[in-house]
């Protein structure tokens, strides 16, 4: 295992201290393990809290700031946060208008957020939860824990964040978050596994000419293993899976996301293929992101996320955002 760390057990604490040092716009609560905007909650605004295992940076801590999240709760690497920290973050950002929990659909995340919501409720904080579950690689959701939450989380956090910033109430923000989730689908591919610092060895092994199709963001094996294919074929596989599940048309927001170990030049190669496939199917890319937005440590590979836009969603997407991981308009 080769990592720029001090000791496996210190990764999260050290990284949080680094985040604190790097971003004066954030307050990092080192002991309680959550990150908020510096300056405290915005009076009257719905608070947005997200969280999940670490190792997906810039998600979620990098999305705390104007126009996006109010707080992020990082768990240990690839491990859901615990109720205490989510509860602390929730009460810290509540400005009287209630708090939205944005939760990725993993049993651990769902259970821990649920417990935190109950604790917050005991304190009189109104909490709504939206569970993101956009990953079409998980087919048979009745026979599984349901679809995983992956790339759409970035879209949900941005768009719900913009609505909250404009003063929308909790029900409206939650409804928008659910709408974004329902209109979004993702598919991921891994070329290499990744290694949890505490585990010391990779989560799976792949031959030099193999890839995993349908992976999530936790270094886990995917639905199936296949021969490594050209970028164009990989993009086609992903988009066909998405299109079969949610027929694409009209304006879309597309993210070609690197898993952490893939160079940007390759993501642009994939983006070209994605753009060609979509335009060949009469779909218009109105907005896009190409880069590392929701990662799996140093895994090589990418995920493709598509959201079917409405004029309202496009407008909220375009609204100013100022976070370490996403910034425009100010």
């Amino acid at each position: 295992m080769k990592k720029l760390i001090n000791a496996p057990d210190d990764v999260l604490a050290d990284a949080l201290a680094g985040v604190a040092a790097a971003h004066p716009s954030l307050t990092v609560h080192l002991d309680e393990r959550f990150i908020t905007r510096a300056g405290g909650p915005t009076p009257g605004k719905v608070g947005l809290v997200s969280g999940g295992g670490s190792g997906h940076e810039p998600l979620h801590g990098g999305y705390v700031g104007y126009g996006m999240l109010d707080a992020a709760c990082p768990g240990e690497v690839f491990t859901s946060p615990v109720p205490d920290q989510i509860h602390a973050a929730t009460t810290a950002v509540d400005a009287g208008a209630g708090v939205l929990h944005i939760v990725k659909n993993y049993t651990g995340d769902v259970l821990n957020f649920q417990m935190a919501a109950e604790l917050a409720d005991d304190d009189g904080v109104r909490v709504e939860s939206v569970v993101v579950n956009d990953d079409v690689a998980v087919e048979d959701s009745t026979w599984t824990a349901g679809r995983r939450g992956t790339g759409a989380t970035v879209f949900v956090e941005k768009i719900a964040g913009a609505a909250a910033e404009r003063g929308a109430d909790l029900a409206t923000v939650a409804a928008l978050a659910r709408e974004v989730n329902e209109r979004s689908r993702s598919f991921g591919v891994a070329l290499t596994p990744c290694t949890l610092p505490a585990a010391g060895k990779p989560g799976f092994e792949l031959a030099d000419d193999e890839m995993e199709l349908g992976v999530g963001i936790h270094g886990e094996p995917g639905r199936s293993r296949a021969k490594l294919a050209p970028a164009k074929e990989i993009a086609t596989t992903a988009l066909e899976a998405i299109h079969a599940d949610m027929p694409l048309s009209g304006d879309v927001l597309v993210m070609v996301n690197g898993m952490g170990g893939t160079p940007l030049i390759e993501l642009y190669v994939v983006y070209k293929a994605v753009a060609e496939w979509l335009s060949g199917h009469g779909v218009t890319i109105a907005r896009n992101l190409v880069g590392n937005y929701i990662t799996s440590l140093e895994m090589a590979g990418c995920s493709i996320t598509v959201c079917r836009l409405t004029p309202e969603l496009t407008e909220l997407w375009d609204a100013p955002v100022e976070t370490p991981g996403l910034r425009w308009g100010r």
Binding site: G75, T79, T107, L111, N112, Q114, M115, T144, E220
Partner: protein
Amino acid sequence: MSVLDTETFHRWIVETARLVEANADRLTSLDAAIGDADHGINLRRGFQAAVTALAEKPAATPGAVLATVGRALISKTGGASGPLYGTGFRHASKSLGEAAEVSELQLGAALAAAVAGIRQLGAAAEGDKTMVDAWTPAVAAYQSTVDGGGALAEATRAAADAAEGGLRSTVELQARKGRASYLGPRSVGHEDPGAASTVLLLRALATVTAET
């Protein structure tokens, strides 16, 4: 009829923490095959926290021991297993109430409460390839041993053995809950990590009650 005191419950948790520590790499490897390679790491963190919590603020009753453990597991473990085990211990604690000593019948009820809490929170049924597949036959074996007049030590041993049988049964199953379910048919052929840690927990119980 034997009874278990607070000290025994405390020793159960210490022994579980020891077994989890000794088996952490194995649990993590099992999780690497069909999950995200952190189960051993999570439980080590969780049970260390439980042991610390008990040392810092000694509990007065068996039920208090389990309540402290449940809270520590929920606060420190993370992942799916933290809330599930934590909830199990809390339900068991409630079942024991304020009792200063615990009979084999009371322990049976507590174990049944634990598994009921876990099933309710996780919504997993037997056969879904989760810790429930180890817990369920274990509680049944405990119960039938006691019902058949077996001693406490015999019943806890039967529970641990049954959990191990349950663990083995998970190998052939396709997961329908937890991360392993994302693998679909590829989840077949591996032991479930949570079922494996449940075996440790019940093996620890058998060990600390062996002399009773």
